[in-house]
């Protein structure tokens, strides 16, 4: 039996700017190219089909996921690992929601590259291992080799990284979206 996850292991706390009826959020399904679980707090963008894909994009604003793809209000898989039928869900439908980086939020997220050192004011982008094929490590915040006007910027470090109130490493940042250069190759490494 797979070990259960703690409720607090993955996710984001929105320290400022949410929730309010006017908050800018967005809901969509994951792209069918994403075949792995996407955790709460990961960075996604909207592709040309209107679906979420993990990682930053040069023109599509970053979105910070409030739900993970396996959350109970997102999916209810009814086929066992062996391929047997258990049930078929009418709801939920697979839609996730998240906060759009152009909104005014200070966020604390567990989904960042923990090996890097973060200073207030560091620019942040989101990992993306390949321009076309999503990988399970995509969508984590990193400050590695983030160059203004070249790499798409999705946030700026506020107070930095440290253990949050649940004892989980979290990075605090202000979200912002600065598109990448037209010739950006779509790959953002996590660290050196």
């Amino acid at each position: 039996m797979p070990a259960p996850n703690l409720l607090t292991e993955n996710g984001l706390d929105v320290k400022k700017g949410w929730f309010d009826m006017a908050s800018l959020d967005y809901a969509a399904k994951l792209s069918s190219t994403v075949t792995f679980p996407v955790q709460r707090g990961r960075v996604v963008h909207v592709n040309t089909n209107g679906d979420f894909v993990p990682g930053a994009h040069k023109t599509s604003p970053a979105i910070f996921l409030l739900n993970g793809s396996e959350d109970a209000d997102v999916s209810n898989p009814g086929t066992t690992a062996a391929g047997n039928f258990m049930h078929l869900a009418v709801a939920p439908t697979g839609k996730l929601s998240g906060l759009v980086a152009t909104g005014g939020y200070e966020i604390s997220t567990t989904e960042f590259v923990t090996g890097n050192t973060y200073q207030p004011g560091d620019l942040l982008s989101a990992t993306r291992s390949n321009a076309t094929t999503p990988a399970s490590t995509d969508g984590k915040l990193t400050n590695y080799s983030v160059t203004q006007y070249t790499t798409p910027v999705v946030g700026v470090v506020s107070s930095g990284a440290g253990k949050n109130h649940n004892g989980i490493q979290a990075l605090s940042f202000w979200c912002v979206y600065l598109p990448g250069a037209a010739n950006w190759n779509g790959v953002q490494a996590a660290s050196a």
Binding site: P4, A72, D73, F85, L88, A89, V90, P92, K95
Partner: protein
């Protein structure tokens, strides 16, 4: 049908309730009464799988999520009985009942905002305008989710369903005739569960094909009745017929068939449709929402045909 004076009185009452501190609840209740009635009448998902109200106490807590979840037991299969000679003992089987989880999400209407002074000029029943648009959106979403799951459950057209081993999504040639409809009703009973069709769902274009049935097909005076007065039957061929105008969900010449809801699954309503109304200074905002969860626990009670 209320008179114009009555409608204006209703609108004034609503505004008074919104104006008076502590009276917003009454204003919301006034709209909610209407909302619930329309929902029951209009959504075909709710008519096929009536929602069961579920309370907090009936939810099943999970270790890895704080989202609401309900675990439902499913009837277990059992080995077949066998004939044996004397002095032979029966084989054993250990009792294990399968279960499945129903999870929930929320349906929410768009949030409308309006300056109240502009609303004052309306002479229609403002409560009906407020709730109608919201409910139409919510019903469309609810029924759309149901049809999407249904299409997944019945499987690929004219291919054996991997769960039942027989076709549950069938093309039937010959148009819509008495013979082809009866053939359609044979699809579901051929599954291993042998369920009979209890409910048929078609759109309002497809049902008109039945109006063409002559006395020899429809049966005597019934043919005369529908040619005079149109289709008003809810029971036909020992099935309950639901006719929808949502042609984008139920296509022309298609028919969905359902066994009794107890053979299909569960549709839980955790939060009934609620209208949120708030007035801040001269700006009014309102939207409707509900929380529902549903799963098909068993798919042999579902079938679909396309008449060509």
């Amino acid at each position: 049908m209320p008179t114009q004076q009555e409608i204006q009185l209703l609108n004034e009452t609503l505004f008074e309730q919104l104006d008076t501190p502590g009276m917003q609840k009454q204003a919301i209740d006034a709209v909610n009464d209407f909302t619930r009635t329309k929902m029951r009448e209009d959504g075909f998902y709710r008519r096929i799988m009536p929602p069961l109200t579920i309370t907090n106490d009936e939810l099943d807590r999970q270790v890895d999520t704080d989202k609401p979840v309900k675990v439902v037991d499913k009837e277990p299969d059992s080995p077949a009985a066998v004939s044996i000679p004397f002095a032979t003992l029966p084989t054993n089987f250990y009792i294990r009942g399968p279960r499945y989880r129903v999870m929930f999400d929320r349906i929410v209407s768009p949030r409308a905002v309006k300056d109240v002074d502009e609303l004052r000029t309306y002479v229609i029943d403002i409560r009906q305008v407020l709730s109608d648009n919201m409910i139409k959106d919510m019903l469309a979403e609810e029924d759309s989710k149901f049809i999407n799951a249904l299409d997944a459950a019945v499987g690929t057209v004219d291919v054996d369903n991997p769960l039942s081993g027989v076709k549950q999504n069938v093309t039937i040639s010959g148009g819509i005739t008495r013979e082809t409809i009866v053939d359609a009703l044979k699809v579901m009973p051929q599954t291993p569960s042998r369920f009979e069709v209890e409910t048929c769902l078609v759109n309002n274009i497809t049902i008109k094909e039945l109006l063409k049935f002559g006395r020899d097909e429809m049966g005597g005076d019934f043919s005369q009745e529908i040619i005079k007065n149109g289709w008003a039957e809810t029971n036909f061929l020992n099935c309950r017929w639901i006719v929808t105008i949502k042609q984008n969900l139920v296509k022309n010449d298609e028919m969905y068939m359902f066994a009794s809801p107890k053979f299909i699954g569960k549709n839980y309503e955790l939060e009934p449709t609620t209208m949120y109304i708030r007035r801040e200074a001269y700006m009014l905002e309102y939207f409707a929402y509900n929380t529902q969860g549903g799963s098909f626990g068993h798919t042999n009670g579902l079938a679909k045909v396309k008449f060509v």
